[in-house]
Amino acid sequence: MWIAVLTIATIALVAGIALSFAYGRLPAGEGGLVEQVNDLLPQTQCAQCGYPGCRPYAAAVVDGSAGINLCPPGGESTVRRLARLLGKEALPLATTIEPSIAVIDESACIGCFHCRNACPVDAIVGAPHFMHTVIENECTGCELCVAPCPVDCITMRPLS
């Protein structure tokens, strides 16, 4: 009988060690998954999904309250990658947009500062009452600066 007890105890011990090792090394459940989903998102921070940024959307996707097809800047490829990661079916995008960047008509700009405050990635430079401009390389094309402009001098230029 002792042999049987010892065998079972040894197996339990080995399995326990293996599991605790795996727990430490493998990406953790929920929190890790949110990060993984967030990594697949384009980080435009455009809020077109209805959440105030990419990470909140990632959290919503993981807890199941949001669909995986709500990210227009990510496009079909992001939906496919999300589907693969989460083992869900790839749905067609709810809305599609063309990748583009914001351009300020500098002759019309009145230096009101509203667009600068709206930009989620600090891609607009300029001081109050002076002309503003967009840093092309940093603009994510989120369109959040277009609406606040009182003189409508910001347009979206498609990236060819």
Binding site: L41, Q43, T44, D122, E138
Partner: protein, 506 residues
């Protein structure tokens, strides 16, 4: 002792191809006259395009600098003949992406007037660093077809522990014979260039490597070597197997050292230079002639008399073909480069550039057929010189699986075309891999962009929180000070008010 992965000088895979070289090597190199118009792309090298330093209407002389390198990696461009700049505009060129590129167009005056040059200095009196800077000014790039700026390649090698200089005279691709005839006719210049390179690199061993199907070139090099009596230079023969002329493959063959995945030959103490590049280095360092002309093979069954020519860089391909007797009736395709790695072009307006080692006019595209599904025969893996699994890569590139493509070493593919050639289903594997590589690069760019955007977003949020906290703290401080000042401060204000009223009434 552990067994070597290969026997000495053994290449994995590869193919023995029909050479088709004899047709163009029958005649000596012929000089193409200076054309009426030269078209010089500002991007004839790997790296950033050169920036023009001349304006439209300006007169330039042969050998004059017309575009200088911009950024870390690049090479200058020189005027190939004297004349007037008539335009700087987009012109059809032969390159991987896009059909048109900015070019400087020179209307030649036919005088071929050369720039007054400084007298030639003895290169052995210069330090390697000075010599490297001098090579940079010559606009010399790798003439084997990869057009990597030579000076920068040498500078990189200087930072490593380089033991061997390998001169590549293998020229394994079918049809191309420009290096073969160059070795036959200009062996002394090639070896002199090798000596310059060895001085610049401070290496003590140079292997001149030639494929065994070029007996004339080998004999000539042997003669010149005997005259030169330079013990540091060793002539080596390699078997005629495609693609033994690939840089990493050549290192493997000659030194039996394997260039690591994603690495450079300098990681195993070697640097490879084409024989044409060595001759160009000789011309620049000992004769003050920058890279303004090159030897090119004009061949294929679409050309009346296949020949090797020396033409000025920027000569339109059309004129070069006319020089070789024009097209035959059979011509259907025009390819710049060899049949395996070359690029089809749709117009012969494209200029001959530093990279153009061959112009191939053929009646049928080599090795073409109707594409069928993969039957998993595995022939492609057997011939792959980099030991990849093209079949697996094919599936993953169809599935657009970036992670797996990286895992299976797509980035190490040298695009030699062996897998295409043996594929019984005629799947255009190399073309697929090329697009997949582009996509991988794109995805990596996208990822980097997203990461940057995220960092900026997080930094901004942090800043906003900090600003808010500072504002709150300031408000609290003011409130606190108002409170502590209390009745005394109010009495003070009232007193001041009363004083003001009294002043008004008086």
């Amino acid at each position: 002792m552990s067994a070597p992965t290969y026997d000495l000088g053994k290449l994995h895979g590869g193919l023995r191809l029909q050479s088709h070289k004899a047709v163009s090597t029958a005649q000596p190199i012929r000089e193409v006259p200076v054309p009426s118009q030269l078209i010089l792309p500002i991007e004839q090298h790997v790296g950033q395009p050169a920036q023009p330093v001349v304006g439209v209407g300006e007169r330039v002389l042969k050998g004059q600098l017309i575009a200088e390198p911009d950024g870390e990696l690049g090479a200058p461009v020189h005027a190939s003949s004297s004349g007037t700049i008539v335009a700087i505009e987009r012109w059809p060129v032969s390159r991987r992406n896009g059909d048109k590129a900015p070019c400087i167009v020179i209307e030649c005056d036919g005088k071929d007037e050369a720039l007054q040059t400084t007298p030639v200095e003895d290169y052995t009196s210069r330090t390697p660093a000075e010599l490297l800077l001098r090579i940079l000014d010559g606009g010399i790039v790798g003439l084997g077809g990869a057009v990597f700026p030579t000076a920068q390649k040498l500078m990189q090698a200087r930072t490593c522990d380089t033991e061997f200089l390998i001169l590549n005279g293998v020229e394994c691709e079918p049809y191309i014979s420009c290096d073969d005839v160059l070795m036959r006719e200009r062996a002394p210049e090639i070896l002199s260039g090798a000596q310059v390179l060895m001085h610049a690199l401070q290496v003590e061993t140079c292997f001149v490597v030639v494929e065994s199907d070029k007996p004339e070139a080998i004999a000539r090099l042997g003669e010149v070597l005997a005259e030169l009596n330079d013990k540091r230079i060793v002539l080596k023969l390699v078997p005629t197997i495609y693609p033994s002329g690939g840089e990493d493959q050549l290192v493997q063959l000659v030194t039996n050292r394997e260039v690591p995945s994603g690495g450079l030959p300098t990681d195993v103490g070697c640097i490879v230079q084409n024989v044409g590049t060595a001759a160009a280095v000789h011309d620049w360092i000992l004769r003050n002639e920058p890279l303004i002309s090159r030897v090119t093979t004009i061949t294929g069954d679409g050309v009346a008399s296949p020949v090797n020519i020396r033409a000025r860089i920027g000569t339109p391909i059309e004129e070069v073909i006319q020089f070789a007797g024009g097209y035959t009736d059979k011509v259907r395709h025009l390819i710049i480069g060899g049949p395996m790695t070359g690029k089809s072009v749709t117009t012969d307006e494209v200029p001959l550039v530093k990279a153009s080692n061959c112009v191939l006019a053929v009646s049928a595209r080599p090795f073409a057929g109707n594409e069928l599904p993969c039957i998993r025969c595995g022939d492609c893996a057997a011939v792959c010189p980099v030991q990849l699994l093209p079949q697996q890569l094919h599936w993953y590139s169809c599935a657009d699986d970036e992670v797996k493509l990286r895992e299976f070493g797509l980035t190490d593919c040298i695009e030699c075309g062996c897998c295409d050639l043996v594929c019984p289903s005629h799947i255009p594997l190399t073309a697929d891999f090329r697009t997949a590589k582009g996509r991988i690069r794109e995805m990596a760019d996208e990822k980097a962009r997203a990461e940057r955007a995220r960092q900026r977003f997080e930094a901004r949020n942090q800043r906003l929180v900090q600003e808010q906290e500072e504002r709150d703290a300031e408000l609290a401080r003011q409130k606190e000070s108002a409170k502590s000042a209390g009745p005394a401060a109010i009495a003070e204000i009232l007193k001041r008010k009363q004083q003001a009223q009294e002043d008004d009434s008086t």
